[in-house]
Symmetry: C2
Subunit: 145 residues, 2 copies
């Protein structure tokens, strides 16, 4: 069993909530998918296997997963909330491939250090930051569009 599942069970327990088969299944699918999913994306995958699961449940489960620090929202500027895996993924930025839709997570300690310096310089106490670089990967650079 993935660490995330037992984490989720613990989280639900402390909140007085229940592990249902819907929640379990939604978490399974979420963990198995290495992409930035919107609620609708995840719902579409989930309903292929079990068409009885409703979009509302997917929505609510994702919120719970965020509360449990298993998932987190990402904003890639496409006007939809997307979710990514959080557990086991420390702070990171994104390189987002604008043509193929893939992304990679990066951390550059040099950049992080300069960000802190910059904040200190102007008397700013940083709480969180986001840095996303949008561009194309080698494969995509060959494509017309």
């Amino acid at each position: 069993m993935a660490k995330e599942v037992s984490l989720f069970i613990d989280f639900l327990k402390t909140k007085g909530l229940k592990l249902t088969k819907q929640r379990e299944y939604i978490l399974d699918v979420f963990l198995a998918t290495e992409r930035h999913l919107s609620v609708e994306d995840l719902y579409n995958i989930v309903k292929k296997k079990d068409s009885s699961i409703g979009q509302a449940t997917v929505f609510r489960t994702l919120k719970l997963l965020c509360e449990a620090d298993i998932a987190q929202e990402v904003d890639l500027g496409d006007k939809r909330i997307r979710y990514e895996h959080k557990y086991g993924h420390g702070h990171h930025d994104h390189l987002v491939y604008i043509k193929c839709g893939k992304f990679i997570e990066v951390v550059d300690t040099g950049i992080e250090r300069l960000q802190d310096k910059l904040c200190k310089r102007v008397g700013f106490l940083p709480k969180r930051h986001k840095m996303d670089i949008f561009g194309t990967c080698k494969q995509c650079q060959k494509k017309k569009r």
Copy 2:
């Protein structure tokens, strides 16, 4: 007359569009406001002076200003599209003050350089990026919340 106004006139001309008093007034107010405005924000300011101007016109004018490179969208993660001045403001990142809502524009050449390096390292061709740091300024750090 602000440079932006003549820019806008030129833009409209090449597009076969007209400079109306509504557009002119909306641009005036936009330029006079040093904040990240949503359509609604700008509309609320505009209608104080001229209550006959509709929200749709503000919306459309902001889109035109973006096309003319006078304004640009900013996404500060509050789930609304905001607009900032673009003309005369080169690329920059933001330090956003999460309590008082102010922000400053920053450019750190060190960070920019490291970003480019990072991209080169993974064979990624960057097109655009955004980096926003959210935190509190000195004044706000004293406040409870």
